[in-house]
C-alpha cells in the first residue's frame, strides 16, 4: 500500500503501527522517557510535513526509525558533550509488577541491562537497539543504517560480547 506522509489517513495508519517501535528505539538510545517522547514527536512532525511518498508502510517505518535513531544519537552526543549525564536509569518509569509466568524479568535485571546498553559505543548500540528492540532483521538494519549486512552481523556479535562481559561483571547470571 502506497503511503503519502501528509495524507491524514496514511499518517494515522503508519502512526498506529510505527509509534511503539520508534518510541522504543528512542528510549533505548537515550533512556529518558520525556526526551524520547519529544524525539518521536519531532520525527512524526517531519514525516507529516515532508510529504514523502513511500512504497509501503515498511518503507515509511524504516524512514521514521532512521530519523528517530539519528535524533536520539544526537541528543546523547550533546548530553555527553555537556557533561550533564544525569542518572537516567533512576528516572525509568516504574512498571507495574506483572504476575504469573510472564514476569520473567525482575526490575533489577532490567536496570542492569539498560545500563549496559547505555554504555555501548554508538555504532554497536545503534545496531543492537534496532535488533533487540525494533525487531528488525540484518537486512532491514543494514538498509536503515546504510551499512552492509555482514557489517550488521559483526556489530551484533560484538555488541552482545560486550553486553555479556558487562552483565557478568554485575554478577548477573545469564546462563
Amino acid at each position: 500500500m502506497e503511503i503519502k506522509s501528509s495524507e491524514n489517513e496514511s499518517f494515522r495508519l503508519v502512526y498506529e503501527e510505527v509509534f511503539p517501535v520508534v518510541m522504543r528505539v528512542a528510549y533505548h538510545v537515550t533512556y529518558n522517557m520525556d526526551v524520547s517522547e519529544d524525539i518521536c514527536q519531532e520525527a512524526f512532525i517531519r514525516f507529516y510535513e515532508k510529504n514523502i511518498d513511500f512504497r509501503s508502510v515498511d518503507e515509511a517505518k524504516y524512514w521514521l526509525i532512521r530519523v528517530t535513531k539519528n535524533l536520539a544519537i544526537n541528543v546523547v552526543k550533546r548530553k555527553s558533550r555537556e557533561q550533564a549525564m544525569v542518572d537516567k536509569i533512576k528516572k525509568a518509569p516504574k512498571v507495574p509488577v506483572q504476575n504469573g509466568e510472564d514476569a520473567l524479568m525482575d526490575s533489577e535485571t532490567r536496570t542492569l541491562v539498560r545500563e549496559a546498553v547505555e554504555k555501548l559505543p554508538e555504532k554497536l548500540k545503534s545496531v543492537l537497539v534496532l535488533k533487540e528492540y525494533a525487531d528488525l532483521n540484518y537486512k532491514q538494519i543494514a538498509g536503515i543504517l546504510h551499512i552492509s549486512e555482514s557489517n550488521v552481523k559483526v556489530r551484533v556479535h560484538r555488541a552482545r560480547k560486550i553486553m555479556e562481559s558487562m552483565l557478568d561483571r554485575e554478577e548477573m547470571h545469564v546462563s
Binding site: 522517557m33 543492537l128 535488533k131 532483521n137 540484518y138 552482545r160 560480547k161
Partner: protein, 184 residues
C-alpha cells in the same frame, strides 16, 4: 571443529543460510559444549530483548503525541499556526509596504529636528577670516539684482553685517574722500 560465537549469534537471529544452517543444527545435536554456549547466547538475547520498554509505558505517550500533531498540524492544515505560516506575500502587498516605508523614511528626514542648512537667501554665510575678501556684485545675476532692488541700501548693509560680512562700499567713478584729503 566447534562453532564460534558469531556463527551461533547469526544462527540465533535466524540469519544463517543453507547449507550452514543445517550444519550448525547437526553440530549442536552432538556437541554439548557448543549447545551450552548457544543456550547462554540465547539467554543473553532473551534478557536484553525483554528489558524493552513495554506497551503500557508507550501507550500514554502515543496518545499524547498524536493529539499534539492532530491539533497543531492536521487540523490546522488550512489555518496554519503562526510559527509555521508561510510568510510569502503577493507582489502588490510588497510594493505597498515598500512605498509606506519610503514615505515614513522621507517624513522622518524632513521633520527631523537635526539642524539643516539655514535658508541662505541670496548669499552664503561666511565665517569671518582675516584678509579674506568676498566680492559680491549687485548686478551679478538678474534674479539677484531684482530681489536686491526691493530693499533699501541700509537694510542690505545691515543684513550683510548680520551674516558676518565686513562691507566695503564703493561707488564707481568717485574717489573716497578721506584718502586724498591730507594731500590737498
Amino acid at each position: 571443529m566447534c562453532l564460534d560465537d558469531q556463527i551461533l549469534n547469526t544462527y540465533l537471529d535466524g540469519e544463517l543460510s543453507e547449507p550452514w544452517k543445517t550444519q550448525v543444527e547437526e553440530h549442536l545435536n552432538y556437541c554439548a559444549a557448543c549447545k551450552r554456549r548457544f543456550e547462554q547466547l540465547r539467554t543473553l538475547h532473551k534478557v536484553v530483548s525483554e528489558s524493552r520498554l513495554e506497551e503500557q509505558e508507550i501507550a500514554p505517550r502515543r496518545d499524547k503525541v498524536l493529539q499534539f500533531i492532530e491539533k497543531n498540524y492536521m487540523e490546522k492544515k488550512n489555518s496554519v499556526g503562526f510559527l509555521h505560516r508561510d510568510f510569502r506575500v503577493k507582489t502588490p502587498t510588497l510594493l505597498m509596504a515598500a512605498a509606506a516605508f519610503i514615505v515614513v523614511l522621507v517624513g522622518a528626514l524632513v521633520l527631523s529636528p537635526t539642524p539643516h542648512p539655514e535658508s541662505d537667501g541670496l548669499i552664503p554665510r561666511v565665517v569671518p577670516t582675516e584678509g579674506a575678501v568676498v566680492q559680491v556684485r549687485a548686478t551679478e545675476g538678474l534674479a539677484a539684482s531684482q530681489v536686491l532692488d526691493n530693499y533699501p541700501l541700509e537694510e542690505i548693509l545691515k543684513y550683510l553685517d548680520s551674516r558676518g560680512y565686513e562691507v566695503d562700499l564703493r561707488v564707481k567713478g568717485i574717489q573716497p574722500m578721506g584718502d586724498q584729503a591730507p594731500n590737498e
